[in-house]
């Protein structure tokens, strides 16, 4: 079948502002949107730029807006879009570098601001630190994050103010706050209680809907809010 792919293009060396360009592509219902982009780049227009690597939903390179929703191009089936016209745009809220490639630096700066690493200065045992399966399960969901930015760039609070650290950073803070081996929860909670922290979240659930890893993001954010409000992690 033929599908129409409408892509928001922007070349900073040529264009004043982004504009749509339309391509006709032969496709199967079981093609991925990434397949279509590769086909356009390979056969029609080599100048189209986008990021991709693993092509099976693990590396997080190819998050983009597809028919108005943030998704991974390699995890979005044509047939699931129920349309013969596909609109592909770069993630919102981050500066466009070229075409579908956005500047990820502001996103990673927010990520780095929440101390996204284990802090524990106690003498480690000769073997592993023990952790019960239940303790491990407590933060399992938020370990799945691939930092694709689909959540943060779907969040109206982030669109309104790019200083808001956004859902992805909170998810990664959550992953350590609820890890029984970590010792820096109070410091992280202090950061998240700041002006651009967790209370900028207005429970809109866009993030949860956008997450290609199906992390219960809004729930995780709620748990962080509760920990700040109650002062405990139970």
């Amino acid at each position: 079948m033929k599908v129409t792919v409408k892509i928001l293009r922007y070349d900073p060396e040529k264009d004043q502002r982004p504009h749509y360009q339309t391509y006709q592509v032969d496709a199967e219902p079981t093609d991925w949107v990434l397949d279509l982009l590769e086909r356009i780049k390979g056969d029609q227009d080599g100048s189209l730029s986008f990021r991709r690597s693993c092509a099976h939903g693990i590396c997080g390179s190819d998050a983009m807006r597809i028919n108005g929703m943030n998704r991974l191009a390699c995890k979005t089936l044509l047939q699931d879009l129920h349309s013969h016209t596909i609109v592909v745009e770069p993630l919102l809220g981050l500066p466009i570098i070229k075409d579908l490639v956005v500047d990820m630096e502001p996103f990673f700066d927010h990520y780095k601001s929440v101390m996204p690493y284990l802090v524990n200065d106690e003498q480690a045992p000769m073997r592993e630190r023990l952790q019960s399966p239940a303790e491990r399960e407590r933060f399992d969901d938020t370990t799945k994050c691939i930092l694709c930015a689909a959540c943060t760039t779907s969040c109206p609070s982030f669109w309104a103010n790019g200083d808001y650290i956004g859902p992805a950073a909170i998810v990664n803070a959550h992953r350590f706050i609820f890890d029984s081996r970590d010792r820096a929860s109070s410091e992280r909670l202090r950061i998240l209680n700041g002006q651009f922290g967790v209370f900028r979240c207005h429970t809109i659930f866009n993030c949860t809907q956008a997450c290609p890893r199906e992390i219960q993001i809004t729930k995780a954010i709620g748990e962080v809010k509760k920990a700040i409000a109650t002062g405990n992690l139970d």
Partner: protein, 597 residues
């Protein structure tokens, strides 16, 4: 052009690169240069686990891990290196845990372990639980944990910089030349030590588990700079790729009791590996699958088989095998157990196959997976450049890009992650020590010329007639057909002719994107040049080796020939031609014997 100076530069930000950077940066100023953001690296797709003889469920020893690895390598692995790696694996895994890696846990809170192909109790020959795992996303967790530690330690990252060339001055490494993707600007990284950790080149083949970015950049760069590359004929095909897509289904699926079935519903591995059956090593299983398909026993006579992890299947065969839980009770699983232990596999199958593996079997076929060969190194990660293992000062390599050799002719599952944590660390430590004791040499003015020339040659073909996508497709097809699981002189010679034709046509590639900013077309073309060069070396090395060993399986020479071929291949590029040489395998405790599973 910008010039930077560091004691150590690391090229690549996967598991090996980040591990090296963490250790180098303890004492030396260190930069990591990577074409991808670190967490996009292919390490993140590793699923089933990292091997270490922790013995958390049952008796196990690093010596057993060593022997299993030697045997798995079909005796081509260097035994001193393998022993070193398997000993260090234990402390390295504990270290990852201390860094925060969220391993799955045993009921008493220890790191959980599962069986994997080729890992055995050396006394009974039965599978042993040696693979330390975090569900089926162990690589993701390793990559995340190492990146987190790099942030904690404030390591300098140059993300989305493509390294194009290695700087060698009077036979000593002095840095790299790179292009910044966002601007198209060239950068020179002047350094006293360079650690190459750019991963593999699985994109040479049509059906592959490898990422688009696995284009062998580091191997191709060193080859162009006159250094040899080792054992390139040995490339692993993983038995269970999703049919047509090549996406990996972890060996952990069989570790948890999954069974391979042919079109007649038979558990065919009983005939090929009567002792460990579906947990034989990868080369053995991939060949068996290919044989089943060729003899008409694929599913509905087609070119795929089933991997079945439905609880009723797992429980049926576990009972027949007499498999038990750690407490001695019979091994049984439920659908929920499968979901808990293999959540991503279930998700992949639902997403990419429309199949729920708890209810239906998965169609699978072997998929190109891992380069055993690469840049020759020693135990410290130092690059060696001839038959006598002479060191090239200041140059290091670690991870899939390197050939220590710990994998020999066939890598055991879980050992890629062991390799990168153990040798990544040692490369980092030794590079820092070496760099701090060295003086910077003056760089010549034309140091970036070779890189600029390579890109300009690609850019200038405004009227070229060839397409990147077309040449890529033809390369991948011929290599899959003729330099894949089974090989013959005839097929490989045809493939070599084809690859050389493609190398010629590559010079006529047309680049439409004339811009500087994020010109991925130009970079993809350069990557294709790397793949073509490596495909040529793989094929030439494979034609020359007239025996079958591990992943290199010749129909015209079906037997292993230790008299003639118990040696590593080395390949040099000289004046546009490939020259082969050989060096001995290091054998310490284990004399080669027949390999039976």
């Amino acid at each position: 052009m910008k010039i930077h100076q560091f004691d150590v530069v690391v090229v690549g930000a996967g598991g090996a690169g980040l591990m090296a950077a963490l250790y180098a940066s303890k004492t030396a100023s260190t930069a990591v240069i990577s074409k991808l953001y670190p967490m996009r690296s292919h390490t993140g797709t590793a699923q089933g686990g990292v091997g270490a003889a922790l013995g958390n469920y049952e008796e196990d020893h690093p010596e057993w891990h060593t022997f299993d690895t030697v045997k798995g390598s079909d005796y081509l692995g260097d035994q001193d290196a393998i022993e070193f790696m398997c000993q260090e694996a234990v402390t390295s895994v504990y270290e990852l845990e201390h860094m925060g890696l969220p391993f799955s846990r045993t009921p008493d809170g220890r790191i959980a372990q599962r069986p994997f192909g080729g890992h055995t109790n050396n006394l009974t020959g039965k599978p042993v639980r040696r693979s330390c795992y975090a569900a089926d996303r162990t690589g993701h967790m390793i990559l995340q944990t190492l990146y987190q530690q790099c942030i904690k330690n404030k390591i300098n990252f140059f993300d989305e910089f493509q390294v194009l060339d290695l700087i060698l001055i009077n036979g000593v490494a002095q840095g790299v030349v790179a292009i910044e993707l966002a601007t198209g600007e060239m950068h020179i990284f002047h350094a006293n030590a360079v650690i190459i950790a750019t991963g593999g080149y699985g994109r040479i083949w049509k059906i592959t588990s490898n990422a688009y970015s696995s284009t062998g950049d580091g191997v191709a760069i060193t080859l162009r700079r006159g250094l040899p590359i080792e054992d390139m004929e040995f490339f692993q095909f993983h038995p269970t790729g999703i049919y047509k897509l090549g996406i990996l289904i972890t060996e952990g699926a069989r570790g948890e009791g999954g069974i391979l079935l042919n079109g007649k519903g038979e558990r065919f591995m009983e005939h090929y590996a009567p002792h460990v059956k579906d947990l034989a090593s990868r080369d053995v299983i991939s060949r068996a699958m290919y044989t089943e398909i060729r003899e008409g026993r694929g599913i509905n006579g087609q070119d795929y088989l089933y991997l079945d992890i439905r609880p009723e299947t797992v429980n049926k065969y576990a009972a027949l095998d007499g498999r038990t839980q750690p407490d001695g009770s019979p091994y049984r699983v439920t659908g929920d157990d499968i979901l808990a232990r293999l959540p991503d596999i279930v998700d992949f199958c639902r997403t990419y196959l429309g199949v729920d593996p708890v209810e239906q079997p998965m169609p699978v076929q072997p998929t190109a997976h891992y380069a055993m060969g690469g840049i020759p190194t020693n135990l410290l990660g130092q690059v060696v450049m001839d038959e006598k293992n002479t060191i090239l000062p200041g140059l290091y390599a670690a991870g899939e890009v390197a050939c220590v050799s710990v994998h020999g002719a066939n890598r055991l599952g879980t050992n890629s992650l062991v390799d990168l944590i153990v040798f990544g660390r040692h490369a980092g430590l030794d590079a820092a020590k070496y760099a701090l004791g060295s003086q910077f040499k003056t760089l010549p003015n034309d140091v970036a010329d070779f890189s600029i020339e390579q890109l300009d040659r690609l850019r200038k073909n405004k009227n070229g007639t060839e397409k990147i996508s077309k040449i890529t497709e033809e390369m991948r097809t011929t290599m899959m057909d003729h330099v894949g699981i089974f090989r013959t002189n005839e097929g490989m010679s045809a493939s070599l002719t084809k690859i050389r034709e493609l190398q010629d046509r590559f010079l006529q590639i047309k680049i439409q994107d004339g811009g500087k900013v994020f010109n991925t077309e130009l970079l993809n073309a350069w990557e294709l040049g790397n793949l073509l060069d490596l495909a040529e070396v793989v094929t030439i090395s494979a034609i020359a080796r007239t025996e079958s060993r591990g992943a290199h399986s010749r129909e015209d020479f079906p037997n292993r020939d230790d008299q003639e071929w118990l040696k590593h291949s080395l390949a040099w590029s000289e004046d546009g031609k490939i020259r082969l040489g050989y060096k001995p395998v290091t054998i310490t405790k284990y004399q080669p014997k027949e390999r039976v599973y």
